[in-house]
Amino acid sequence: MDIDSSTPIARFENVGLRYGLGPEVLQDVTFVLKPGSYHFLVGPSGAGKSSLLKLMYLALRPSRGLVHLFGHDIATASRNALPALRRSIGVVFQDYRLLDHLSTFDNVALPLRVANVRESDVKRNVEELLAWVGLKDHMHARPPTLSGGQKQRVSIARAVISRPKLLMADEPTGNVDDRMGFRLMHLFEELNKLGTTIVVATHNEAMVQQLGHPVMRLADGALAVTPGSKGPSALGPGNLGPSNLKPGQIGSAV
């Protein structure tokens, strides 16, 4: 999919979402994600974080309002156009959503296989990535035999294997200890530096403070965006390196 650098990755305008006839879980949500931006998505449980992410990874259509992804209006996009959009999106689900009957390798290979990538390329890319996330020895293990942290890394590997333009993670540090949590965040920083737009939903306010990225705050279905403070990173300059993005450019609310 060709998108020029000025096309927002995601643009929401007055988006409302309700399930069935229930109350609106999201109300008048408006924001823009610029290419290469990094946002945290915070808010109390039940504020609609997961629903907002679902709209962004095309698991739901909005009840009202405009959702544009990569310049495509989701309301008018045909079903046949959605897979191509989804292939540009990587998602780390809160509950991982790994397929238990498939090996680690096959789980990570899934996005490449559904995109009909040649099997030799699949093998090379997946093995490389599994080595990078430290799961090379567990390549043939099935998810039920993996620890929480390992499952999480499989889930992240699956989300990034096809080099998505937009990467979303729902509570990626929820089930791992702090050390692992910061390691994962480091991985996201690295991907962000390579140009991936990132949205991380989290409860971890300490991490949000430390990393200093812009924050999308959901409360009672309404969204407010505060610019990032992008100060010195807790991960240290040696790990992160200088960011080529200035805080003001990272992303902004409309």
Binding site: Y57, L60, R79, R113, V114, A115
Partner: protein
């Protein structure tokens, strides 16, 4: 068979174990229906061909006349028949044979006890179409009471019945195919429900509907083929046994009841047909059901 990696654990579904047997029983019935269809069609055509080329002429015995005059009448008839254009051969059916044919009705009787008609078997050239009515007239002029029977009416009714049976067999075949389709459709729908979560993950990672449908379709194809082969495996010995039994009761009247080679070949295609129908049905079912998802 068709062992390939699938992203959905379709092999472990309970239905995957039962579906081949359900299909097997249906294909077994389909094979019997099809064999019946082919056998009947073959029978009807052979009757049509075989019987159209024979006539039976009956010369009644005159109880008052002596044997010599009866023999003379028979000889007259034979001569006239032989001279008729289109007649290939003429042969008298012996008294003993006539008695044998009548024995179910009369019991064992001596030829001299009853005035038996003489029967002449006439073989005609099917291409020249001997006119039975004209022959009848010609014969009765010299031999009163002579009767020409071309089996036409009897044969026409028999063939009518066979054709009706054929239609019935074809309808049974069609209904069985519909049942296979319905079975595969319900099995596929169950699979879609059971694997809804995995299917959503596939969708969210960018899988097209046809990618998912292909997994269901290739699985159904394999199960359909296996079921078809099981069914055929059951049907072939059954048909052989039936053929053997039919062979034992064979009479001169019934043409041979064996299935022609082409018939066996068409039966061999049933597993391929059930595989194709199962695969296509699964694919259509998945495509239609997924269309309702985002």
């Amino acid at each position: 068979m068709f062992a390939r990696r699938t992203d959905l654990p379709l092999d472990k579904d309970a239905l995957s174990r039962f579906l081949p047997w359900l299909i097997a029983f249906m294909i077994f019935l389909a094979a019997l229906a099809q064999a019946g269809l082919i056998g009947l069609d073959d029978l009807a055509r052979r009757w049509d061909r075989g019987m159209a080329a024979t006539l039976t002429v009956q010369i009644p015995a005159d109880p008052d006349a002596n044997e010599a005059s009866n023999a003379r009448r028979l000889q007259n008839a034979m001569n006239m028949l032989s001279e008729t254009q289109g007649v290939v051969s003429v042969s008298v059916i012996s008294h003993d044979k006539v008695l044998e044919l009548l024995s179910p009705w009369l019991g064992m009787v001596e030829a001299a006890d009853v005035p038996l008609p003489r029967l002449i078997d006439v073989e005609t050239d099917p291409a020249l179409k001997v006119n039975a009515e004209a022959l009848q007239q010609k014969l009765t002029q010299t031999i009163p009471g002579a009767q020409v029977d071309d089996h036409g009416v009897w044969l026409a009714r028999l063939i009518d019945m066979v054709r009706t049976l054929e239609l019935l067999a074809a309808a049974v075949l069609g209904l069985i195919l519909l049942s296979v389709m319905a079975t595969v459709m319900f099995a596929t729908r169950t699979g879609l429900t059971v694997h809804a979560e995995a299917i959503e993950v596939l969708h969210l990672t960018g899988a097209h509907d046809r990618y998912i449908a292909k997994q269901f379709a290739s699985r159904a194809l394999a199960l359909g083929l296996r079921g078809g082969l099981y069914g055929l495996g059951l049907a072939v010995p059954t048909l052989f046994a039936l053929g053997h039994m039919a062979g034992r009761i064979q009479t001169g009247m019934l043409p041979e009841m064996a299935l022609p080679v082409l018939g066996w070949l068409s039966l061999a295609l049933l597993p391929a047909l059930s595989a194709f129908v199962a695969g296509l049905t699964a694919r259509i079912t998945v495509m239609r059901n997924l269309r309702r998802m985002l």
